[in-house]
Symmetry: C2
Subunit: 412 residues, 2 copies
């Protein structure tokens, strides 16, 4: 017997038949003797419709009213799911954020969870009642509905699992787990049985969007064991052997792979600021204004100086490029550069794994593998558990496949 939180996203509750399917899945866990809380998103498409209405009425709408409108999507699903559960004989009731209460801070539209009063839910779950919690929402200090921002239902689920001291938080998605890389690019990609929180964070931040980054951070902080699994294969929960990917503390992973996975992102742009004066404070002169303009800079490389000037290269999200360019032009006087060169035709490839902390040579294997394929590395950046390189976008698939083989990740 375990206490589990099950979270179902918008596509898993997109219509009444899928809600019935969700209810059937929950029933299996209840029948197996588990105490269950369910977190649901809005039916697919509903949130977008509600957001569009707010936008249409006023582009600069009041975030508190936006929250009032948008949170209804999850409220509807929670009530319908409770009805579907009752219909198949499972005791259930819906919970809105203000009823639990799930308290947030005052940042309407992108609130953070402050506390969850789990006692009453735990008591009822102990009596066999399934708690169906509306995801994505809570109640702010002003006693008004607050939403957690897009994808917030994952965060709701993890936070609820922490508050309920749940043994596991199962996140049902449209993929059946976390893979060593994108299976659309590498046919031999393998599903990971377990992955460490830190690895999941690095993979998420470079484009493997399975879980919201924020929910993984929270899971890591609260030590919530998260399982990613598919809501679309009927047989998934039949056996005792759960087939998803568990996101856990690295201590739980006995057989650590040196490299857990290869991630890539094509949503990158490269900017080179040519011939800036090589003086103390030049980095601050460039990146201060960019930060002020809300431009999120990722990799940064400063070349060795020659003749008193240097080149500064950095990457950023492609959509931020026009704003970055304008910001730099506006600050030409204080920076003093010769020209700005931009390149949208780049991709970031990352090798991620907690095992590389204790293994030398991971970066070197990456560089040699890419060199063997004739792929030029433009920028390099490293963290404790990740090595990232920027390459020409045309070589993305080739690079990912070659690295996947080089690190021994290919399925047999």
């Amino acid at each position: 017997m375990a206490r589990i939180v099950m979270k179902f996203g918008g596509t898993s509750v997109a219509d009444l038949d899928r809600i019935r399917n969700v209810a059937a899945r929950v029933k299996r866990e209840v029948d197996a003797g588990n105490e269950v809380a369910v977190v649901v998103s809005a039916m697919a498409g509903v949130t977008n419709q509600l957001v569009a209405w707010c936008q249409n009425l006023s582009p600069l709408h009041d975030a508190r009213e936006y929250d009032t409108v948008v949170a209804t999507g999850e409220q509807v699903t929670s009530g319908l799911t409770a009805i579907a559960l009752q219909e198949i004989g499972v005791e259930a009731r819906s919970w809105q954020g203000w009823q639990i209460p799930l308290r947030t801070d005052a940042a309407h539209g992108k609130a953070r969870i402050d506390s969850i009063a789990g006692e009453e839910l735990i008591r009822r779950m102990g009596l066999g009642q399934v708690a169906v919690v509306a995801g994505f929402q809570g109640v702010a200090p002003d006693n008004r509905v607050a939403t957690l921002g897009r994808g917030g239902s994952d965060t709701s689920a993890v936070a609820l699992a922490a508050a309920l001291k749940a043994d596991r938080c199962d996140i049902y998605t449209d993929v059946d787990g976390v893979y060593t890389t994108d299976p659309r690019i590498v046919a031999k990609a393998r599903k990971l049985g377990k992955i460490a929180y830190e690895e999941m964070l690095e993979l998420a931040s470079v484009g493997a969007k399975v879980l919201q980054t924020r929910s993984v951070e929270l899971a890591m902080k609260e030590r919530v064991r998260v399982q990613v699994l598919s809501s679309f294969e009927g047989g998934n929960l039949l056996g005792s052997d759960l087939p998803g990917t568990l996101v856990v503390d690295e201590d739980e992973i006995v057989e650590k792979e040196i490299v857990a996975g290869i991630a890539y992102s094509r949503d990158e742009a490269k900017v080179t600021v040519r011939r800036v004066p090589d003086r103390p404070g030049i980095a601050a002169a460039i990146f201060g204004p960019l930060a002020g303009a809300g431009v999120n800079v990722d990799m940064i490389v400063q070349n060795v100086s020659a003749d008193g000037t240097t080149d500064m290269t950095f990457t950023l999200g492609r959509s931020d490029l026009p704003r970055a360019r304008k910001t730099l032009d506006d600050n030409l006087a204080s920076i003093g550069f010769a020209e700005i060169v931009t390149d949208m035709n780049v991709a970031k490839i990352s090798v991620v794994g907690v095992g590389m902390r204790s293994h030398a040579g991971v970066a070197n294997t990456m560089f040699r593998t890419l060199a063997d394929k004739g792929i030029n590395i433009q920028v390099i950046s490293t963290s404790e558990i990740k090595v990232s390189v920027l390459i020409a976008a045309d070589y993305t698939e080739l690079a990912v496949r070659a690295l996947h083989s080089a690190y021994g990740l290919d399925a047999a």
Copy 2:
């Protein structure tokens, strides 16, 4: 300067353009120096969709979950209306039932309002903030959302007007007031400037469905001045002379008409139970089982006895006829009738007016007018302010037109 409640139904907020139109109307009242609370229904069609989902998942769904789902319709409209008001420079905020709080009893799905805490709303309205209240919903003693049943938004508005001690409750509908009779039948029907609560109740109960009966009862009890007016004519609120119909205490009506209006209902059926024993308790033997079966009996006539038996005739809603017939057949032994004769081809015509309390001859005028047109009266029933007759349905329009003229109601 006045304090007013403005209520907009589903067709008045059916899409974003209409919500903008509502906001513009509210702004005019605010600009005129009034303190305003707005009560909104769900956008047209939304409630039906939500109800259908609940029904589809479980015909016998939990009323508490039904309320959770269905109340979101009004929540959405309240947020959107607040945004639309803010966009045109009117300070506004939305209020859900649980936030006010508007407390109801525990009868989920058809709850009655217990209390409304109006102080905070009054304070904010005094500071110029418009309160946009989600109609149709409140919070039950179990701290869960409760809905008031279909048409409950009218009741929300009247109850709010009472709690806020509002000078007036304006109900915006798809008609522009209350008429002396149905203008589709009588071209010379006149819009009434004022009508007494009691008259409105009698008109509503015989088919002139402008306001929910329950909201009129509440308005009468709480002495709330209700105005019925159209949300579809742009010029309505421009002048100082409001063109709707005021529903008020009869003392406010200085020039009382003897007859305020002629109502009709074709949703009637007539049942005659032939040759029942003329003994004490026979009425109870017939109408007891019918009441037990939930059949709502309207007019009742017992003929004079002949040879120890009598005929009992009554009317009821047409949809109740099969159930009534089966109930009587099931109780043949205890009643002891010869046969049951039913007639669906009937209509009820009613003459309504508080003035008839002090005027003799109102009923007689009705009988003579119908006789002059050769219309046979099948059943008669009277109340203090109403005379109703049952006639063959084919004569409905002829009877209504003739009576409208006979009582001097025709427009010049």
